[in-house]
């Protein structure tokens, strides 16, 4: 399969002009879609009211009231203009094509919200605030995947690691009455799974996907088992409480942005820190260079004296600890109790976010926010009285990941040796 894959890669990369055209057409289609889907459904003269402060907070800026139709006309025209520019200009927007794509996607979403809330009001700030909360486990899970996949070990067990860590952290926090001990236990649970995944896939060279699947099955089984046997009978084991929201002193006072980004509990701030630390560590330090070299070309790394096995173990275990931390969010950062299979596939959306974000921390964060946003909008659909089934919005993360993976709107680049066990050559 090696040959097929690489030739396909080449084909896709060679047809750059086609990609430019596809993008241009896509932008125009977005504009046309705004016209047909949204503009025709809005009566003239209606207003859309966007709330600019999340609920339960002192309003610092007034609500934004937009005339629905002119706004939509403007958005539609902008999309079509960008598309036309992309097609007419030689080479389109070149390197900034992806930024333009993001802008068009943003305008389309804004158009959708304007249409949905026409004649009503929608708390935009609240929506974004919820999106960010929902993005936390996805982003942290994706960071876990990035750590281990950048070193060449595929981890599809993020789901299982998060689920077990959610349970153990909740139990530990309930017993000790200390949330931080809960977090610690969650991280250690992750580390334990990391050791198992590492030993199986690095030492014993078990297929990494099988090892991950085994961990997922095990984790679902053991958490449901313990939940049915203990947690449902002893409620005191399952009352951890949650971390309180802590507004950052100065930053949370910034109008609009402050309440959205800086009025959350510990997990969101930890996520910011991890994002920065990981980006710097992976791309600016010797440690990160070594880790990535092991994921791209282990043999070359080995020749240069880097211990491939050790590096991979470290990456897998650190990644698993991150997954454990992400798992503790479900109980300690969100609802304060454990329920069977409460992660509900979020580990796989985290995997999708990692791919969508092109194996980059901030890319994964962007993807996490986008996926969290679709989740948040899906729960608002009923309130907006839009007759779009929420399930279709919830499908969106998976579909866009498949599209990105197929290389239609841009190819994601996975580490070259991702998923290949390293065999030291016999001497």
């Amino acid at each position: 399969m090696a040959a097929t894959t690489s030739t396909f890669h080449k084909e896709v990369e060679m047809v750059k002009p086609t990609r430019q055209r596809v993008m241009g057409i896509l932008f125009i289609l977005a504009g046309v879609a705004i016209w047909f889907l949204f503009i025709r459904g809005v009566a003239p003269g209606t207003l859309t009211k966007f709330g600019m402060t999340p609920g339960g907070m002192q309003a610092t800026i007034p609500d934004m009231i937009l005339p629905s139709l002119p706004t939509l006309y403007f958005l539609s025209a902008m999309c079509i203009a960008l598309g036309a520019a992309q097609l007419i200009r030689k080479g389109g927007f070149r390197k900034s094509t992806n930024i333009v794509l993001g802008a068009v996607a943003g305008m389309f979403i804004f158009g959708f919200l304007t249409y949905g809330a026409a004649g009503k009001s929608l708390n935009l700030a609240g929506l974004l605030n919820v999106s960010l909360s929902k993005a936390v486990p996805l982003t942290l899970g994706a960071l876990s995947g990035i750590l281990s996949e950048r070193a060449g070990v595929v981890n599809i067990a993020i789901e299982g690691m998060m689920l077990s860590a959610a349970m153990t952290s909740c139990m530990a926090a309930s017993i000790t009455d200390n949330l931080w001990i809960g977090v610690l236990v969650g991280v250690l649970t992750g580390a334990l799974y990391g050791v198992v995944h590492g030993v199986l896939s690095i030492k014993y060279k078990v297929n990494q996907i099988i090892s991950g699947t085994a961990i997922n099955i095990f984790s679902t089984g053991i958490t449901s088992y313990i939940s049915a046997k203990f947690l449902q009978h002893f409620e005191s084991l399952n009352q951890s409480g949650t971390f309180p929201a802590y507004p950052v002193p100065v930053l949370s006072k910034i109008p609009f942005i402050g309440p959205i980004f800086f009025n959350h509990n510990m997990y969101v701030y930890a996520m910011y820190i991890f994002l920065v630390v990981l980006t710097v560590a992976l791309f600016k330090t010797k440690w990160g260079l070594r880790l990535r070299s092991v994921g791209e070309h282990p043999k070359a790394a080995d020749t240069l004296g880097i211990n491939v096995f050790k590096t991979r173990y470290m990456a897998v275990i650190l990644g698993a600890m991150m997954a454990g931390f992400a798992g503790s969010y479900f109980t300690l950062g969100s609802v304060g109790r454990f329920d069977e299979v409460m992660t509900a596939g979020r580990g796989f959306i985290a995997l999708a976010a990692m791919i969508f974000g092109n194996w980059m921390p901030f890319g994964a964060f962007g993807a996490g926010i986008l996926f969290g946003f679709t989740d948040a909008v899906a729960s608002k659909l009923a309130i907006l009285q839009l007759h779009i089934p929420s399930q279709f919005l919830l499908m969106a993360p998976y579909i866009v990941t498949m599209i990105v993976l197929a290389g239609v709107v841009g190819r994601s680049q996975m580490p070259a040796a991702d998923g290949t066990p390293y065999e030291k050559e016999g001497d």
Binding site: V206, N207, M414
Partner: protein
């Protein structure tokens, strides 16, 4: 890792001086891995060796499950506080009760069966054979789904999306089952069943096509397709396919003409699906090993370069392999709807698609092995219900046991180390999959 130093130990020397109690486990393990292929063994011994690892994996899986049962049993902890002997005795008691309840739940009591047959009362006979037949009912979807993953392995693709394909199969089968009315059973039932295969095949074709055309890895795509399938069925069951008079997300009941016929009276649920499953297993075996198409598929799966050199289209085989795998998983969904539930509800699958990976590996990706592994998993599942009723041990322990079996089977070297078995001859172990990066 100290491979380098240890692998220098001459093989003959290691074999001549078998002092297992003096060697440490790591050394034994390395020996197991590095030992050369055995000399020309008679065929039966090689066969024995190839089934020994699965058997030992099952045994170890059950042992690990037993350890977890012991560790989570309050009475054991209490007994250990009295004395160590009492604790050990209680541990044995707990596990023995649990596993014998599991066994009785899976196979029934032979005594009851003899009594029932001698009394000649059909009702009693049905009651006596109920546990055994229910194990077969539980094994049926495993056979289809296991074949799906196994066929994928043979074609060199990792079908982790059997669960989603199963949902699509169930949706299609249920739709044909309740919407077509007035057909005779011998037309309606096959159409409904095949509709399931078509639904699953469609869901398998998409990632296969994407892989062949763009190189996008099928593992990621099938995972994504799983969740798309869950959302899709969620939508259908709360919207278009919802039973009009029900508040629950359930589809209408299928027409009696679409249902797979049952062999016995109530409560025995054994239905035609089990026979179809066996037939399909035979068909897959015939296709893989007796036809030119199967040869192409396997060659493309194990050695794509050679296949391309021989003029086969690997891309075509990938698409075909994924589509067939999807169709098989779709049959599992159709089987559940038409044979067991007679409607489609959200929670109709208890992760068959994921367990199927363990089954395909346990069966060494051969259809016959898949049938055996499915029977094991089916009996484990059906027996666990009885265990939960009798001993209060949650039936989720079966998933734990399955995960352990999967680990031990996937890492035969570990199992062999523990039991100091010799590695089977090269070429006997199926090349499972090419890895993530496609290398």
């Amino acid at each position: 890792m100290s491979d380098d130093k240890l692998s220098n130990v001459p093989e003959e020397e290691a074999q001549k001086a078998p002092k297992p109690e003096k060697q440490d486990a790591g050394k034994i393990f390395l020996e197991e891995v590095t030992a050369g292929p055995p000399k020309h063994l008679p065929r039966w011994r090689r066969t024995l060796q190839s089934i020994l690892v699965p058997l030992l994996a099952i045994f170890l899986g059950l042992v690990c499950g037993g350890i977890i049962i012991i560790l989570t049993s309050a009475s054991v902890w209490a007994a250990f506080q009295v004395s160590i002997m009492a604790g050990l005795k209680e541990s044995w008691n707990v596990v023995a009760t649990a596993y014998s309840a599991l066994f009785v739940g899976a196979f029934g009591r032979p005594g009851d069966l003899i009594k029932a047959i001698s009394s000649g009362n059909p009702k009693l006979i049905n009651l006596a054979i109920y546990p055994f037949t229910d194990g077969l009912v539980a094994a049926t979807p495993y056979i289809f789904a296991g074949l799906s993953v196994a066929l994928g392995f043979r074609a060199g693709v990792f079908n982790i999306g059997a669960e989603g394909q199963l949902f699509l199969g169930a949706i299609f089968a249920a739709f044909v089952g309740y919407s077509l009315k007035g057909l005779p059973w011998f037309i309606h039932m096959p159409i409904a069943f095949l509709a399931g295969a078509v639904g699953g095949g469609l869901w398998g074709f998409i990632p296969g096509w994407l892989k062949a055309k763009t190189g996008a890895h099928e593992v990621i795509n099938t995972i994504m397709m799983n969740y798309i399938a869950f959302r899709l069925s969620d939508w259908l069951l709360t919207g278009p396919m919802k039973r009009p008079d029900s508040f629950n997300p359930v589809s209408p009941t299928i027409e009696p003409s679409a249902a797979l016929p049952k062999f016995f009276g109530d409560p025995v649920r054994l239905h035609l699906g089990f026979i179809i499953a066996l037939l399909v297993a035979w068909l897959v075996s015939w296709y893989l090993f007796k036809t030119k198409w199967g040869f192409d598929l396997r060659t493309a799966g194990t050695n794509p370069r050679a296949a391309r050199y021989a003029g086969m289209s690997v891309a075509m085989q990938i698409m075909l392999g994924m589509t067939l795998a999807g169709a098989l998983a779709g049959m599992a969904g159709g089987n559940e709807v038409l044979g067991v539930n007679h409607n489609l509800a959200m929670a109709f699958s208890s992760g068959y698609g994921f367990d199927a990976i363990a089954i395909a590996l346990l069966g060494n990706s051969s259809p016959f092995g898949v049938v055996l592994a499915s029977l094991l998993f089916g009996f484990l599942r059906s027996g666990a219900t009885n265990m939960m009723l009798k001993t209060g041990i949650p039936n989720d322990i079966v998933s734990v046991v399955q995960a352990f079996i999967l680990v031990f089977i996937a890492a035969p070297a570990i199992t062999r180390t523990i039991f100091r078995l010799k590695q089977p001859a090269k070429g006997e172990e199926v090349v499972l999959v090419t890895s993530w990066g496609g290398k």
